[in-house]
Symmetry: C2
Subunit: 234 residues, 2 copies
């Protein structure tokens, strides 16, 4: 970052009445209410009230309730993205995947600290018509693809299926265990339980392969199909 550290707030020409700040306040309030009542329960009245802003003002920033909701969702997504991947801009190809383990852990921690918010965001993503336009989902899936292509990964991972499973598991486990209404200590332990089970699953799976020879065969056959389809598509 450039010499921005020395800049005193007086240097920057203050905005007239700081619409930016107002907008941010509205979005923050919307976030909080979204986490409390879910997307359906979000009313412009309540948002304005919580943001200490007139209802008309909210309508000036976001023409319709639906647009406010959409803006709030991507706002949350950005928050999540920063928490997991750091402050780097979206398109920076470097450091996309420092370590898969770290990404998984930071995601689990974020989810555990914001269970309701994570839940709501996830369901908006699922309901969205174009998931690919979501900042976090994009970067997350890219990073998982990179891992799957690396030599550290088992061969044959179905990245789409796997990304969905990991994402929703991580985000909904805190919801299931009621992470809100838990002590910080409990939450730490619950994150650890989840991470360990995920790690165990990643390293060992759940079934002893030697006990399921026929399934193993089936699996290899399916992988053969996939490879054949891929080469046929060329």
């Amino acid at each position: 970052m450039p010499d921005g550290t020395t800049i005193i707030p007086t240097r920057r020409p203050r905005r007239r009445q700081d619409p930016e700040r107002t907008r941010a306040a509205i979005l923050e309030a919307a976030c909080a209410l979204l986490a409390k009542d879910g997307p359906e329960g979000l009313s412009v009245s309540q948002v304005a009230q919580l943001a200490k802003v007139n209802r008309g003002t909210a309508y000036q920033h976001f023409q319709t309730r639906e647009q406010l909701l959409e803006a709030t969702t991507t706002w949350v997504s950005e928050k999540l993205r920063r928490a997991v991947f750091g402050e780097a801009p979206v398109n920076s190809d470097v450091a996309t995947l420092g370590d898969a383990q770290g990404v998984a852990l930071r995601m689990a921690e974020f989810a555990m600290e914001n269970p309701a918010l994570g839940r709501v965001w996830l369901f908006e993503l699922l309901a969205s018509s174009r998931p690919a336009s979501d900042p976090f989902w994009n970067q997350f899936k890219t990073s998982l693809e990179k891992f799957a292509r690396s030599d550290q990964a088992q061969p044959g991972i179905d990245v789409d299926v796997h990304a969905v499973m990991v994402l929703i598991g991580t985000l909904l486990w805190p919801v299931f265990v009621r992470a809100d209404s838990r002590s910080a200590k409990d939450r730490r332990q619950l994150v650890e339980r989840f991470s360990n089970e995920m790690l165990r699953l990643s390293l060992q799976g759940t079934m002893r392969p030697e006990k399921f020879p026929e399934l193993d065969a089936h699996l290899r056959a399916a992988r053969g199909d996939k490879a054949r389809r891929a080469s046929a598509a060329k």
Copy 2:
């Protein structure tokens, strides 16, 4: 009031008195609307309209909108339970776990054929204060516990975490891929993809253990902790 002969023929033939059937019709309608609009969007008016029943009638069967929603949820849960575990009553201890593979597959198929309904039910389960009171969740978790104790399973499975992951993965994958608005053929293929990835994960995990010796050590240490806690609790 004068004799009814002059009354305009807009009178709807009154439903035959059969409370059971009426109740079922209301619940079925609620199911359909639940799948379409989600729990928040469920209005008694619409339910009554779809069930071809007066709104007041619905209020007689379910005192409040909230109760209707709750009843509908367990109705769905029962449906799911039957689809996955068969018609046997809940408490029958026999045949609880014919084969874990079959359970997983039937669940995936149900989810793929009823994506919206599965999503809503799952959401209600997550929001519920006592998941243990849900018919399907109960039986599902029991069956998974049984498997984890069997000699076919890898040791050290955290059943709670794992049950949540498998359940939500199976139910939300169809939502993610927009199983509605897909052809039957597509849906079949998508079920297969999911099942294969789940199977692959169960048999092999995602990471090559030989590449992560330190993680393997960490995992064994964690398992040691758990065992120590368990023996300390005695």
